[in-house]
């Protein structure tokens, strides 16, 4: 089973990398972009066969390591 973790900076936390990407898009002529936030995607291969158990396990991983909940939000998707 595969789990996909999305980690994003919380709203209100300045994302200078997202701002730089937005600026670069503007320079390329894409002027319809009013905001860019950059995050990360982490894919895990999980041996658990029960989706709910896998999700609970990955959420614990997020709390303990994969996300820094001081500045980041995360969401977990079991695929």
């Amino acid at each position: 089973m595969k789990a996909r973790v999305y980690v994003m900076l919380k709203n209100g936390v300045l994302d200078p990398q997202g701002a730089a990407v937005q600026h670069a898009l503007g320079a390329l002529g894409f002027d319809g972009v009013s905001g860019v936030r950059q995050g990360k995607v982490i894919e895990l291969d999980i041996t658990a066969t029960d989706a709910a158990a896998a999700k609970a396990q990955v959420e614990e991983m997020c709390e303990k390591l994969l996300a820094n909940t001081v500045i980041e939000n995360y969401s977990v998707e079991i695929v």
């Binding site: 936390v13 200078p16 001081v70």
Partner: protein, 222 residues
Amino acid sequence: MRAGVVVFPGSNCDRDMAVALKNAGAEVSMIWHKATEIPTGLDVIALPGGFSFGDYLRVGAIAARSPICQSVIRFADKGGYVFGVCNGFQVLTETGLLPGALLRNAGLKYVCRHQTLKVTTTNSVYTGGYSTGQTITVPIAHHDGNYNLPADDVKKLFDQDRVAFTYVDNPNGSVADIAGVLSENRRVMGMMPHPERLAEEAHGGTDGKPFFANLFDQFVSA
């Protein structure tokens, strides 16, 4: 004074830190990250600068979960003195021993320069060698020094006199110009600037020297 310097794979200021502590009179043990126990009888533990574990995932994140860091957390929880410089500060925020987090510099660039700091409080073993409001020049060299903390918590830090240093001419976007912070019990301290890099005449300045000299004075009689 007996000091320990933790060495992670990717630490690169560990020896500079050890030299500054030794020059101040300390007996220094280097603690490899795979050690699970810290040497007994230490007065203070230093987490040095560098790029621990390649700063993979987030700066300081992997180091903060290493076995030695669990011992450092227990040492701090028992009232031990721990300070972190640069990457060491990032590790301390990741362990939760210090509040907040360090993000990519607002200007997105690695900054390496001599930085003017203001000593915000002298009420700690780390800052007691300076005077309040004194400006000092200390090198900075970091890509992720943008200190982030919610506004309420920033206010709490200032109310509790826990901001150790602030930047004059903020180089990285840190909230309220904060360059270094203290824990609630004032025994854990983290700062981005490197006092160990300007601690003897040969460095071209000695503004970092009182940091180590005062630390030694605090523990020499203990």
